[in-house]
């Protein structure tokens, strides 16, 4: 006898469940951190974006003049890609809390739906940034 206990029925399943639970906890903590970090990025991006809008309006720039400045501007394109990435991360995680608290919608169906929403935001945003860059 080596002193080890024989495996108890269901012990393996319980361990698997405990691991899955820990993995979910880590993911939930990562989501929260991602939302906080993306909020910090958004705070900067929104200010720059609003400043750009106010500048364009006050200078009376036409659409053609604006496009003349954005086309081929890699800095502007990179900035808006970062903006789109922050929105695509931030908004779905915030909605996850709203849906779960207000409508009791929780679990995998919600996570998949919000992942799809994040992809829609990312694709639509990138398309818009590309549209004024190319």
């Amino acid at each position: 006898m080596n002193g080890a206990h024989p495996p108890v029925d269901g012990a393996g399943a319980a361990m698997d469940e405990a691991r899955a639970c820990l993995s979910r906890t880590r993911m939930q903590a990562r989501l929260w951190l991602a939302q906080r970090l993306s909020a910090a990025v958004l705070a900067l991006c929104v200010l720059v974006h609003l400043g750009t809008i106010i500048y364009a309006v006050r200078q009376g720039l036409s659409a053609e003049e604006i496009l003349g400045r954005t086309r081929g501007n890699l800095t502007g394109f990179g900035f808006y890609l970062m903006f789109v990435a922050a929105v695509s991360i931030h908004a779905p995680i915030g909605l996850r809390a709203v849906f779960s608290e207000w409508f009791s919608w929780r679990g995998k169906s919600l996570d998949w739906a919000l992942l799809a929403f994040a992809l829609v935001l990312a694709v639509a945003g990138t398309r818009a940034a590309w549209g004024v860059f190319r």
Binding site: L22, T25, R26, Q28, A29, L33, S100, E101, R106
Partner: protein
């Protein structure tokens, strides 16, 4: 003919008290209670039970703000009733007394606190020593930052007022709540405790500290002037740091 001044005095000297009767389903019943000097809300409830309706169920023990058993909702706000003077909370001459929110009602003003305390256990609220009986006593200076943080939350009496005041508990029944998280934070800062990586895991998920929306209702209403919101903010930082360091 009645004397209007005497009649007004008599009316002013009485409280109109609505008290919740029943369990989850029930109704408010009205009572008239004589006003007294330095009268607490618990005095009012006790008067009703002793002189007007002996079937009224409520819970209290120490009457001096130590045991945390007399929490009730008074005019819609959670209070410890033994240390709440009527003059501070009365609305004209009316009081509405109900069981604490966010807890199942057993009867009248008595709530089932077991779920509340189960969450303390789920948040790993038990002290687990990192020393053996062969070690010397731990010498902990009260001036260290860790001990100061722990001391800021250590006086919790478990009355459930913060839990009842919390809108996140109302919206997310799995949420551990301010009291359990405050308890976890005191132990995270306890240098004698050895359960901290596990404890941070216990409070890191959707039901843990990150679910707090910082409404600050718990800190506003805590009868012991503890700020669970601050403790929860500390847990958020600790959980995020542990995550970044790969300890979670």
């Amino acid at each position: 003919m009645t004397d209007p001044i005497a009649e007004e005095k008599r009316a002013m000297s009485r409280l109109k008290v609505s008290v919740w009767r029943g369990a989850e389903a029930g109704e408010y019943r009205s009572y008239e209670v004589p006003r007294q000097e330095s009268q607490t809300v618990l005095d009012v409830v006790t008067f009703i039970q002793r002189y007007l309706d002996p079937t009224l169920a409520y819970r209290f023990a120490c009457r001096v703000g130590m045991c945390g058993s007399c929490g009730m909702s008074v005019n819609g706000i959670a209070r410890w009733t033994c240390r709440t003077h009527v003059t501070r909370v009365v609305n004209g001459d009316t009081l509405e007394i109900a069981p604490l929110r966010n807890l199942p009602v057993i009867k009248d003003l008595v709530t089932d606190m077991s779920g509340f305390f189960d969450k303390w256990a789920a948040a790993k609220g038990q002290f687990r020593s990192n020393r053996s009986r062969k070690d010397e006593f731990a010498l902990v200076s009260p001036a260290t930052p860790e001990r100061r943080r722990a001391d800021a939350g250590i006086e919790c009496i478990g009355c459930g007022v913060c839990y009842s005041a919390c809108d996140v508990v109302a919206d997310n029944p799995a949420y551990l709540g301010p009291a359990a998280l405050n308890r976890a934070w005191t132990l995270v800062n306890d240098v004698r405790d050895g359960a901290n990586p596990e404890r941070l895991r216990a409070v890191a998920g959707d039901a843990g500290c990150n679910a707090c929306h910082t409404h600050v209702s718990c800190s506003e209403l805590c009868p012991k002037q503890i700020a669970p919101t601050g403790s929860i903010a500390g847990l958020k930082r600790a959980v995020s740091l542990a995550l970044l360091k790969g300890l979670l």
